[in-house]
């Protein structure tokens, strides 16, 4: 008997769920809303996995403020250049990495090249390449080039290029070395981006300025000086370009044995194009797509958490006020009124300014300021439910206040809870976006509002590939929750049901 009854109960529950879904399916708004919400959930979970870029910390993944890659196919954007990385990996951790480079020596045989386990403290790799001068070399000067030749097949120049190196010198007695980083073009021009002479032993060091086309020292190579764009100057045609680190060793003290050793690590060169990724980059060359994907997570989390907290508070206060009545009712409702009459956004801003700009503070403040309306609705519903005969019947059967609240009042206000949840989520999402837009968001977290803030702050309002995604996402996500709320309201509130 019990098993069949349990099955009947289960069937009853399933029947109710199926009936609800059947009614919900009829509602076009509801289907549209839930479809979009499901899409954003998938986006929030899968989207961040599709990119390796961190939305906040990974700067200069491409050129700064460049449009997306697919812009190349739009009319008028054919000259866009993608990122070019001639080297697959940076560092000299193993022989594979060393073999990417072409190492030329002269005179031949005077050097030995080996892989050293010692790595520079700056880069990631553990090893470096060690060049040691053979004992008793007869010549008085030696040259060494570590070079990489790559093809530039675009008509337009890149947005930017940059390179780096780390060097350590040992056994420098009676010898001096001239080091330089050079970029040579197919036309035969040589651009020395950095050079330095060392005369004694040194620990690991890097160029004293960034060897970067944005660097002032690099710009000063050209007659235009500050106004020069080295990337534009150097990459002005297709063909084979060569990047190399040149080392010139000279003996200054004839006769004494020379034992100079030079360690080289982290030698790199890359160009950043004028387009990047799915949605381009922001003012610091960060991936906009990764910001959007991570922002979806943030917006959904803020929306759902704040809405659940505020609806829970509203439900508790409403039940309490409606059920207890009298002084408890007066006090809690006057408190709610007091919060209601204070303008929402200014209060939010002040509280965040006082508490500090963290995402948890934002969630807490939004939920603490968002329960009042719902608590009034619940209270009024409870007041009318309280007078219904079935409540009196439960009391006559000996039901305690708690029992009546849980078994009779709560199930009858649950419909309101679902509707209110669905309609408070967009309110929370837009409140968070508004706060972040005004610069009061969590600076360590890239939300859609933060993206809009950056857009306005860096005057990028015309850059549609940057403006449209976060704006559209906020609007569509909020709208879909509102639509779901409205359709729930229509289904759960029979007076609104259209026949």
């Amino acid at each position: 008997m019990t098993i069949s009854i349990r099955r009947k109960k289960f069937n009853l529950l399933m029947g109710r769920a199926r009936g609800f879904w059947k009614a919900y399916k009829q509602n076009k708004k509801g289907i549209f809303g839930i479809g979009i919400i499901v899409f954003f959930f998938l986006f929030a979970f899968v989207g961040p996995m599709l990119t390796l870029n961190d939305p906040v910390d990974d700067w200069d993944v491409g050129g700064r403020r460049v449009p997306p890659k697919w812009f190349m196919f739009l009319p008028g954007h054919q000259d866009l250049v993608p990122n070019l990385k001639p080297l697959k990996t940076v560092g000299f951790s193993d022989n594979n990495e060393i073999s990417q480079w072409k190492i030329e020596l002269s005179p031949i045989g005077s050097y030995s090249i080996s892989h050293s386990q010692e790595g520079s403290p700056y880069g990631s790799g553990m090893g470096s390449v060690l060049l040691s001068l053979n004992e008793g070399a007869s010549s008085s000067s030696w040259t060494l080039n570590v070079s990489k030749t790559f093809e530039w097949k675009y008509d337009a120049p890149p947005k930017r290029f940059r390179s780096d190196v780390a060097i350590k010198a040992e056994g420098f007695e009676g010898v001096e070395a001239h080091l330089k980083i050079v970029l040579s073009t197919p036309r035969g021009d040589q651009y020395t981006l950095w050079e330095r002479t060392i005369k004694s032993d040194t620990d690991w060091f890097q160029p004293e300025y960034k060897v970067d086309s944005y660097s002032l020292r690099v710009k000063m190579i050209f007659p235009e000086g500050v106004f020069a764009d080295p990337a534009h100057k150097i990459f002005n045609g297709t063909g084979m370009y060569k990047f190399y680190l040149g080392v010139c060793l000279k003996s200054t003290d004839q006769g004494s044995p020379i034992t100079a050793r030079i360690y080289i690590d982290d030698l790199s060169f890359e160009t950043m194009g004028t387009c990047y990724g799915l949605l381009g980059t922001d003012q610091w060359g960060r991936d906009i797509y990764s910001q959007l994907a991570h922002g979806a997570k943030i917006s959904l989390a803020v929306g759902l958490l704040s809405a659940s907290i505020s609806v829970s508070i509203g439900l508790l206060v409403g039940l309490f006020a409606g059920f207890m009545g009298g002084m408890a009712d007066e006090l809690s409702m006057r408190f709610a009124d007091m919060l209601l009459i204070i303008p929402f956004l200014p209060l939010l801003m002040i509280l965040i300014a006082i508490l500090g700009q963290s995402i948890w503070n934002i969630i807490i403040v939004i939920s603490v300021l968002g329960w009042m309306g719902f608590s009034r609705t619940v209270r009024s519903q409870v007041l009318s439910l309280k007078e219904r005969a079935f409540i009196e019947a439960a009391r006559a059967s000996g039901g305690s206040t708690i029992h009546i609240a849980m078994r009779h009042i709560l199930p009858n206000v649950m419909g309101l809870v679902y509707v209110s949840l669905a309609t408070s989520v967009p309110a929370a999402i837009t409140a968070e976006a508004a706060l972040s837009f005004l610069g009061l968001g969590d600076p360590r977290i890239m939300s859609w509002g933060q993206m809009l803030h950056d857009i306005v702050y860096y005057a990028a309002i015309k850059e549609l590939y940057w403006v449209v995604p976060p704006g559209l996402c906020i609007a569509v996500l909020a709208l879909s929750f509102v639509m779901m709320g409205f359709s729930l309201d229509e289904i759960l509130n029979p007076r609104l049901r259209r026949r």
Partner: protein, 329 residues
């Protein structure tokens, strides 16, 4: 039926304050009250059905609710056996509840629309911990559902109130009240919301189920229904009991002018029957702060001088027939 009283009501009063506007509450200190139940005393014996008859607004329902302390009285006592339930604390009262139940007037209102029949009928069992497990609850519910002729119970157990007819709902309400075998049940116009055919069924059902409980207070505004069902009948008018006697006595030999008027007003399903002279005048008085005189004075055709000066007491005129009228001392 034994003579031992199960319920003793003594000087029960319930005044409802009348809400006034803000200004008038400042300028007038006079407080207005609706005297819903005014100084009522009576007994209900073991295994007895007492009918409470009166017109709309006379305080019948209030009296019924006072008896099981669903609302608090202004003054007065109700004894259940020897316990004064008005002096019980909240928790003591809750443990008394299963002994006293109520069947409400409107079966469309008195059943929670979000609960199944099983949960509705099983609720009193659960609250009072009368069943140990879910399956015990289901057995008890199935048993009582058979008693109220909702067979097979398995078919009805998982229905919601909106899937039931009015008569079926009232059966559920009856089952709910009787499932814990209370000693005393207040039936507050249990059939007035039903149509005539269902009404008879429910009344017969309640008569059959008299074995499941001891005593009833049966509230109705129809004398015919009361006579059908009750051992004794009390006639109520504006918060006071005017006459109380065995059912047959009160129908055959009504003494109070109001009782007479009530009986005359009962429609006779015979078009040729000659309508007798109406023995009542005027309208019902307002129950707000009524003057200290016979409540029926303004409508009574036989009113004397003393009726306007003194409120008559309910006195036994012999054979358990009690009446509150200056004409019958």
């Amino acid at each position: 039926m034994t003579d031992e009283a199960l319920i003793r009501v003594r000087n029960l009063r319930k005044l409802f304050p009348v809400r006034k506007g803000f200004l008038s509450s400042i300028f007038s200190r006079e407080s207005l009250h609706i005297h819903a139940v005014d100084n009522v005393s009576f007994d209900i014996k073991q295994d007895e059905v007492l009918g409470l008859v009166g017109e709309s607004g006379c305080g019948k329902t209030t009296l019924g609710r006072l008896l099981i302390r669903l609302i608090e009285p202004t003054s007065g006592d109700v004894f259940f056996r020897d316990i004064n339930i008005m002096e019980l604390s909240r928790s003591e009262m809750q443990s008394m509840r299963p002994k006293m139940q109520i069947i409400f007037q409107d079966p469309y209102e008195s059943l929670n629309p979000r609960m199944t029949v099983l949960d509705l009928v099983g609720e009193p069992l659960e609250i009072n911990a009368l069943v140990g497990s879910e399956s015990e609850k289901e057995e008890s519910v199935a048993e009582i559902l058979e008693h109220v002729r909702m067979t097979p119970p398995g078919e009805f157990m998982f229905r919601y109130p909106h899937e039931l007819s009015g008569g079926q709902r009232q059966r559920v309400a009856v089952a709910r009240a009787l499932v814990i075998h209370p000693d005393f049940v207040v039936a507050d116009e249990p059939v007035s919301m039903l149509d005539t055919s269902t009404r008879g069924e429910i009344l017969n059902l309640m008569i059959e189920l008299r074995g499941l409980t001891r005593s009833y207070l049966f509230i109705t505004h129809e004398l015919a229904v009361a006579r059908h069902f009750c051992d004794r009948i009390a006639i109520m008018y504006l918060g006071r009991i005017m006459e109380m006697a065995r059912s047959d006595d009160i129908i055959r030999r009504p003494i109070h002018p109001y009782t007479k008027a009530l009986i005359e007003a009962t429609p006779v399903p015979d078009p040729s029957a000659r309508k007798e002279k109406v023995s009542i005048k005027g309208e019902v008085l307002s129950p707000i702060n009524p003057p200290r005189r016979c409540r029926f004075y303004t409508r009574c055709l036989a009113a004397k001088d003393i009726c306007s000066k003194l409120e008559p007491e309910l006195v036994d005129i012999g054979g358990g027939h009690m009446v509150a009228c200056h004409l019958y001392p």
